[in-house]
C-alpha cells in the first residue's frame, strides 16, 4: 500500500482535506491508490521514462551539445479538477482572453484605454514589446492572441488566481497531450473507473482556428508551422503539432517572399502559404523589419503581413499585453472593454515605478517575490523567503537603480498535489496552464498542463528550473 507523507503547511492540498480524508473528486483515485504496491508505481514510473526517451519527448537545454536532450520529469500521479470548478475557471479564462485581445486591438488602433488613463500610456508605448509597425493594421477577425497560455495557481484560500498571461508563443501543450497518452497506456484501469474529459481534440481545434483566420478570399488556406529549428528547446512540440495537424513544419529558409506573397520551397516548385503558425519570437521573424542578424526568419514577411496577404499567428506585437508591467492592469481591461467584473483575480501586485509601492517592497523584501518585468522562464526573479541576506541586498540595489523594471507579489503558497518523489509520495507545489484558443469562438480543452516543482518547498515550476509535469484530469462526477 502506498503511504502519503509530508506537510506543506498552510498550502491548499488538492487531494486531501486538513483532517487527512480525501476530497470527493479524489475519492476513487485514493481507493485505487490504496490497492497499489509502491513497487508497481516505481516500475510504472521507470516505464514512462524509458517510453518518453524512446519517443524522444525531450527538450534541449541551451548550451548543451547536440543529441543531449533531457526529459521533463513526468509524474504518474494525476492532478484532478472537478467539473464544476473547471467550468467556473473556463468562464473566467475566456473573459480574460477576450479582454486581452480587445486591449491589443485597441492599442494598435484608437488607444481608447490610454486616453481614458486606465493604463499609463508610457507603459505601453515605451514598452520594448510594443510594435509601432502594427499601428492601424487590420488582422483577420480582430484576433491577436490565437493561442494563449494562462498560468493559474490556487492560493491557500483555495481560490484560483492568474499568475501570468502568455500571449507570444506559449508552449507546453504537447506535454498535455503526451502525458494523457502516457497515463492511458500505464493505467488503463483508471480511465475505466473515472469519467475523464478528453483532450485529444486540441490539434483539430487549433487547425480549425488557424484556417478560420486566413486572409480574406482564400478558400482552402495552406497553413504551416514555423519553427526556429531542431536546436530550439521546444522543437519536439513544433514537430509534434505539425504532424498532428497534418501541416508542413517549416524553417525560415524554407519560405520566401515574392510578388507580395509568401511561398515555400517544395520539390515541385514554390507553393503559396496563407497562414503561418509561428513559434518564433517577433524579433526573429523578419530580418528586414526586426533584428537584422536573424537567420531564422523570412525577409519581407512583415510587408506581406501588413498588406493582409498572409496571416501570422499569434499576431506580431502581442507581447505588449503579456508583459509583467502590464499584468497588473488586466482586471481593469476586463472592466473597461467588457463592462464586467473579473471572474478570476490577479495576484496582488506592487508596481515598483510607483514610489509608495517601491518603498513598501524595499521594507518587506524578505516576504515577497520580485520579478523582472521582461523576464521569462523563472529567470531574473527573487523569492524573498528563500533568499540569502546577500541576495536580498543585491536585489535591493537593483531595484533602487531601476525600479520601473520590477514588480513584486506576496509569496503565494501554491496549492500542493501528491507527487512521486524519490522516497515516496509527497506533496509538491503545482500550477496549471490551460491553453485558450481564439478563432470564431474561444475554446479551451478541459484541463491543461499541470507543472510541479519537484524540489521540496520549491515554488518554481519552470521546466528549465527543475519542474516536472502531470496529467490533468477534469472529472465528470
Amino acid at each position: 500500500m502506498v503511504r502519503l507523507w509530508g506537510d506543506m503547511g498552510a498550502a491548499f492540498n488538492e487531494m486531501q482535506l486538513p483532517d487527512g480524508s480525501y476530497r470527493p473528486h479524489y475519492a476513487r483515485y485514493a481507493e485505487w491508490l490504496a490497492e497499489q504496491a509502491e513497487e508497481r508505481l516505481s516500475r510504472k514510473r521507470a516505464e514512462a521514462d524509458s517510453l518518453f526517451h524512446r519517443v524522444g519527448i525531450t527538450f534541449a537545454i541551451d548550451g548543451e551539445h547536440e543529441g543531449m536532450e533531457r526529459l521533463i520529469p513526468f509524474d504518474v500521479m494525476p492532478r484532478v479538477v472537478p467539473i464544476d470548478e473547471w467550468r467556473a475557471l473556463e468562464k473566467g479564462l475566456k473573459q480574460r482572453v477576450r479582454a486581452l485581445n480587445a486591449f491589443i486591438h485597441d492599442i494598435y488602433h484608437e488607444q481608447d484605454i490610454l486616453r481614458a488613463k486606465r493604463v499609463p500610456a508610457e507603459q505601453v508605448l515605451g514598452n520594448a514589446q510594443y510594435r509601432p509597425e502594427m499601428q492601424g493594421i487590420e488582422v483577420p477577425g480582430g484576433i491577436y492572441a490565437h493561442v494563449a497560455g494562462i498560468d493559474v495557481v490556487r492560493s491557500d484560500s483555495g481560490g484560483f488566481h492568474v499568475l501570468e498571461d502568455n500571449l507570444r508563443v506559449p508552449s507546453g501543450v504537447s506535454y498535455m497531450l503526451e502525458n494523457r497518452k502516457m497515463m492511458m497506456r500505464l493505467f488503463p484501469e483508471l480511465f475505466a473507473r473515472h469519467s475523464i474529459a478528453p483532450v485529444e481534440q486540441y490539434p483539430d481545434q487549433l487547425l480549425e482556428n488557424l484556417r478560420s483566420v486566413a486572409p480574406i478570399g482564400v478558400d482552402a488556406p495552406t497553413v504551416v508551422l514555423l519553427t526556429p529549428g531542431a536546436q530550439n528547446s521546444a522543437y519536439f512540440e513544433h514537430a509534434f503539432l505539425a504532424q498532428q495537424m497534418g501541416i508542413e513544419l517549416v524553417e525560415g529558409q524554407d519560405l520566401f517572399v515574392h510578388d507580395d506573397a509568401v511561398y515555400m520551397r517544395t520539390t515541385r516548385g514554390p507553393r503559396r502559404v496563407d497562414v503561418i503558425y509561428r513559434r518564433l519570437d517577433d524579433d526573429f521573424l523578419d530580418p528586414l523589419a526586426f533584428r537584422p542578424d536573424s537567420m531564422l526568419g523570412v525577409p519581407g514577411l512583415l510587408s506581406v503581413y501588413r498588406a493582409g496577404r498572409v496571416t501570422v499567428a499569434n499576431a506580431i506585437g502581442t507581447g505588449v499585453a503579456d508583459d509583467k508591467s502590464i499584468y497588473p492592469y488586466v482586471p481593469d481591461m476586463i472592466r473597461f472593454y467588457l463592462g464586467e467584473e473579473p471572474l478570476i483575480a490577479n495576484v496582488p501586485t506592487w508596481i515598483l515605478r510607483r514610489p509608495d509601492d517601491c518603498e513598501y517592497v524595499l521594507a518587506n523584501l524578505a516576504k515577497l517575490v520580485v520579478k523582472e518585468v521582461h523576464g521569462a522562464g523563472g529567470y531574473g526573479m527573487l523569492i524573498g523567503p528563500a533568499a540569502t541576506r546577500a541576495e536580498l541586498d543585491e536585489f535591493r540595489a537593483r531595484i533602487r537603480a531601476r525600479p520601473e523594471s520590477y514588480v513584486a507579489q506576496p509569496t503565494i503558497a501554491l496549492s500542493t498535489c501528491p507527487t512521486f518523489v524519490e522516497a515516496s509520495l509527497a506533496p509538491r507545489h503545482v500550477d496549471l496552464r490551460p491553453f485558450v484558443l481564439s478563432g470564431a469562438d474561444i475554446t479551451i480543452v478541459p484541463g491543461g498542463l499541470t507543472r510541479v516543482a519537484l524540489r521540496e518547498g520549491s515554488l518554481v515550476v519552470n521546466s528549465s528550473q527543475g519542474g516536472g509535469t502531470k496529467d490533468t484530469w477534469v472529472l465528470n462526477t
Binding site: 524512446r54 547536440e66 543529441g67 513544419l249 524554407d254 515555400m264 520551397r265 520539390t267 515541385r268
Partner: protein, 314 residues
Amino acid sequence: MLSRTADHLYWMSRSIERAENLARMLDARYRHELLPHAPEVLVRDWEAMLNALGLLSAYESKHGAIEPRAAFEFLCFDREHAGSIVSVLRQARENARAVRGSITSEMWETINATWLEARRYRAGSTEGGVGDFLEWVKDRSNLWRGVTLGTMLRDEAFRFTRIGTFLERADATARMLLARLPSSIEPPSVDAASADLNAWTILLRSLSAFEVYRKVYRDAVTPWRVTELLVLHAELPRSLRRSMNELHSGLAAVANEQSRETERRAGELQAQLHFGRLDDLTRTGTQRFLVSFLARLNDLADRIAQDFLVPVGE
C-alpha cells in the same frame, strides 16, 4: 513537399542503408579473417577497404599501422570521424529528428531507439565481440525497413526515402564486388580472376545472396556467376539491376519540370542492366565496368540534389 524535408528523408534512409552495408562489409571481413591468412594479405585487404571508404589516412593518423582489431573498432564505434557505423546511425537520427513530422512515429521511434542503444556500445563492450554488434546493426536496419514499408504512406516522402535507400545500396553492392576483384592488372576473364572461392562465398553471404545463388544456379560458386547474379539479376534485392529499377521508378514518380535529364540518365543506366549481357558489359574488364557504374551513380546523386533537394551553395 518541402525540399528540405526531401533532403532529410533522403539522407536519413541513405544513412541507415549505409550503416547496414558497412555492417555487411565488416561482417564479410570478420568471417574472412576466421580463415587462415598470411598477415600481409590481411593488411593489404584492410588498406583496400579503408581506402575505398575514404578513411585510410584518418585511420593511419590515429592508429598508425593496420591492425585488424583496431580497424574493426575504428569502423564500428569511433565517434570522432563521420564514417563509423555509430556516427552514421547518429546522422540517420539527426536527419529523422529534423523531419519527425513527415515520418511515422514508429519510424522515428525505431531510429531514435537505435541511436540510443548504439551509444551504449563501446569497443569490447559486447561479449560476442564485434560480430554481435554487426548482427545487431543488420537487425535494426531490417526492423527499420519493415517499419517503413509497413507504416508509411506511399507518397512523395516515401519515394524520396526509397530513392536514398537504393542509390546507397547500388553504390555499396558495386563497391563490395569491386573490392573482391584482384587489384593487380586486369585479368583476361572473371573466371580466372581468383581461385579463392571461399572469398566469393563470403561475399554472397554478406549480401544475403548465398541461398539465392544456390536456387538460381544449382551449381558450384564461380566468380563469373556471382558477378552475374549481383549485377544483372532482376529479382535479387541487392543486385545492381534491381536497385536501378527502384531508383528509376522512384525518380519517375517524383518527376518535376527540371528533372527530365536525371530521369533519362537513370533510365539509360537501368536499361543497360536490363537488356545487357555480362560479357558485353564487362568487355573492357569487370573492374572498369564497376568503376564507370559508380561514377554514373555519383552523377545521379549530384543531379538529384540539384533537381529536388537543397541545392548546394544556395
